[in-house]
């Protein structure tokens, strides 16, 4: 190691706090714009890819963005709901394969997605451990959700109440985890998948309880139906013993869903399908790619503004760092004067100061590259989190 470097290292170590603050500040100036761009690029890629693999999404009239964010990324956005009648209609018309989505509840903070087996085919989702959905009350976890909740096949998971103080609302349902999906790097990794009928049980449309006759809970009758006491035991877990007691009231076609992903077999059917919804006042068919493209243009505009903000903040912070280095030189005046008096060449003194700045710069660059590498390695996860995080 050269003598100048030895002296510079000694100075950096002696002024460890100053050096750490300068290195961290400079690293942040370098890393934040890079990391932001990396995550935005990953988010753009996810947005586009997910939108392209979702041909058409059908939902209630209202915000197309809410519909897509809820249907593609299971966000907390709540589009107006539609009913299962729309799914049946799509089956009857034969223009597309309908995949219903019921996205309203959470379990352990992760979105509970009520759907059918067609969804797993549409997204090419593979079960990595355990098995797929088969019975009412079962759940299959996305890879990240399983890690976050620390659950595996055989465990149970309680759904979150919508509102702690709403005693008339949906009661938590204990789900049996039967499988964990292989990671996909998409919003599916964060989801808790259940059959759409299980989602209706969570919502309270379907329920299970002890036999009112056997338990002597009949308190009367009305229009030919027995009226049970409110004290009858309700089940909050679907087990082999209780599954037979679960049933639904009302017309299945009226049961609510959030949206329907429609998968037409070809472009012609897709065009006809979209045409069917042009005149409808209660419903709309949205092509996610088109909406996402418009959204990305907005994101890019915000990105450019962010770049300008980073540039201004970077310049201001650079001035602060230069000031800190200048003050540091002032504090070393005695040393520099001594060096000059004992015969040090001017270039050696300049090199001494330069080496200090270079060490700070190199340290900051290394830290920034490390941070960028860490962000790059997790860019997909961060992008998915950014797109799906609830409460953002």
């Amino acid at each position: 190691m050269s003598d100048i470097l030895i002296l510079a290292v000694a100075y950096v170590r002696h002024t460890a706090i100053r050096s750490a603050v300068l290195v961290t500040s400079l690293a942040l100036i370098l890393a934040v714009p890079l990391a932001t761009q990396t995550v935005l690029d990953a988010a753009e890629s996810h947005f586009t890819e997910r939108a392209e693999t979702t041909p058409v999404i059908i939902g209630a009239r209202g915000s197309a963005l809410d519909l897509i964010m809820n249907g593609l990324y299971f966000t907390a956005d709540r589009p107006e709901r539609i009913t299962m009648a729309e799914v049946e209609r799509l089956w009857d018309e034969g223009l597309a394969t309908p995949v219903p989505l019921h996205v309203r509840y959470t379990a352990g903070g992760q979105p509970v997605v009520g759907t059918t087996l067609e969804y797993f085919e549409l997204r090419d989702l593979e079960v990595a451990a355990g098995r797929g959905l088969a019975l009412l009350g079962e759940a299959v976890l996305g890879a990240s959700a399983a890690v976050r909740l620390d659950l595996r096949a055989g465990d149970v998971l309680l759904t979150d109440p919508e509102n702690l103080f709403d005693i008339g609302g949906a009661y938590p349902l204990e789900l049996s985890v039967v499988g964990v999906l292989a990671p996909t790097g998409t919003a599916d990794d964060e989801a808790v998948f259940v059959d759409v009928t299980t989602a209706w049980v969570i919502e309270g449309i379907g329920h299970g309880h002890a036999d009112v006759v056997e338990t002597d809970m009949v308190v009367g009758s009305s229009e030919g139906a027995l009226v049970a006491s409110r004290a009858v035991q309700q089940f909050n877990r679907i087990t082999p013993e209780t599954i037979a007691t679960f049933h639904f009231h009302g017309d299945r076609l009226e049961y609510p869903i959030s949206s329907v992903i429609a998968v037409p077999p070809d472009a012609r059917n897709a065009a006809v399908l979209r045409g069917r919804y042009i005149g409808r006042e209660d419903m709309r068919a949205v092509v996610p790619g088109v909406v996402i493209e418009a959204l990305l243009e907005t994101v890019f505009r915000i990105g450019r503004i962010l770049d300008a903000v980073f540039a201004v903040v970077g310049v201001a912070a650079s001035f602060a760092i230069l000031l800190a280095l200048y003050l540091s030189i002032r504090m070393r005046e005695t040393e520099l004067r001594t060096a000059s008096r004992i015969g040090a060449a001017r270039w050696r003194i300049a090199a001494l100061l330069g080496a200090d700045a270079a060490l700070i710069g190199l340290g900051a660059l290394a830290l920034a590259l490390l941070a960028e590498a860490m962000v790059s390695a997790r860019a997909d996860t961060l992008a998915v989190w950014l797109l799906t995080a609830r409460g953002l």
Binding site: E335, R341, G343
Partner: protein, 219 residues
């Protein structure tokens, strides 16, 4: 041999120093005394080539310092002159050993090799700071700091050692001890010592005293 011939130095601020012709034998111990502002430190700076006279010759160990270019004067200082400053001017972020090695680290003509590091340790051993070589100046006593400064001045075995009020900040006991040390090491190195001092009690220990209060035409 140090020879001063017809040296006149003046600043734009009105300070003026005219030195009498002067010869100092190599290996001599010379004390410079005089009131503040009489030019004692300026004299040391002229000898070291830190200042250039308007006229005259300053010859140190055969080199006319006044005739050297700034770069040559720096090299001359690095190779020929050792400094002991009043406030020692040790480098705060370096250990005692690295402070002693500092003139070699900062120089562009040498680097501390094993022999030089051994010399630094030997100097520290003789001056009694061998067990404090890892300490930084902030954790050293004034006596230890001064010994470190003396070792630093002698590292490159200079022909001329200049001490500017080197004992000025020390208590009487330490003054004598430090002077003993400085004389011993200068004698051992065969160097010439020129020391500015205000302490007249120490003067009888020098071979020669030059009083700047009343400089004659020739010394």
């Amino acid at each position: 041999m140090i020879r001063i011939e017809g040296v006149r130095y003046a600043t734009s601020a009105g300070f003026e120093l005219s030195l009498p012709d002067l010869s100092i034998e190599m290996g001599a111990r010379v004390a410079i005394i005089g009131p503040s502002g009489s030019g004692k430190t300026t004299f040391l700076n002229l000898l070291a080539g830190l200042l250039s006279p308007q006229s005259g010759r300053i010859v140190v160990a055969g080199t006319d310092v006044a005739a050297l270019s700034p770069t040559e004067r720096r090299r001359f200082r690095a190779r020929t002159v050792g400094f002991v400053f009043q406030d020692f001017d040790l480098v705060a972020y370096l250990s005692a050993l690295e402070n002693i090695l500092y003139p070699a680290r900062i120089a562009d003509d040498i680097t501390p090799d094993r022999a030089m590091i051994a010399r630094a340790r030997a100097l520290a051993e003789r001056t009694g700071i061998a067990d404090r070589l890892r300490a930084k100046p902030a954790r050293m006593s004034q006596g230890e700091q001064q010994r470190t400064a003396i070792c630093r001045a002698l590292l490159r075995a200079p022909a001329l050692v200049l001490a500017d009020e080197a004992t000025g900040n020390l208590d009487p006991k330490n003054k004598q001890a430090s002077l003993d040390l400085l004389f011993d090491e200068v004698d051992r190195a065969g160097a010439t010592l020129i020391a500015v001092t205000h302490d007249h009690q120490l003067l009888d220990r020098f071979d020669r005293v030059i009083d700047f209060a009343a400089l004659p035409a020739e010394l």
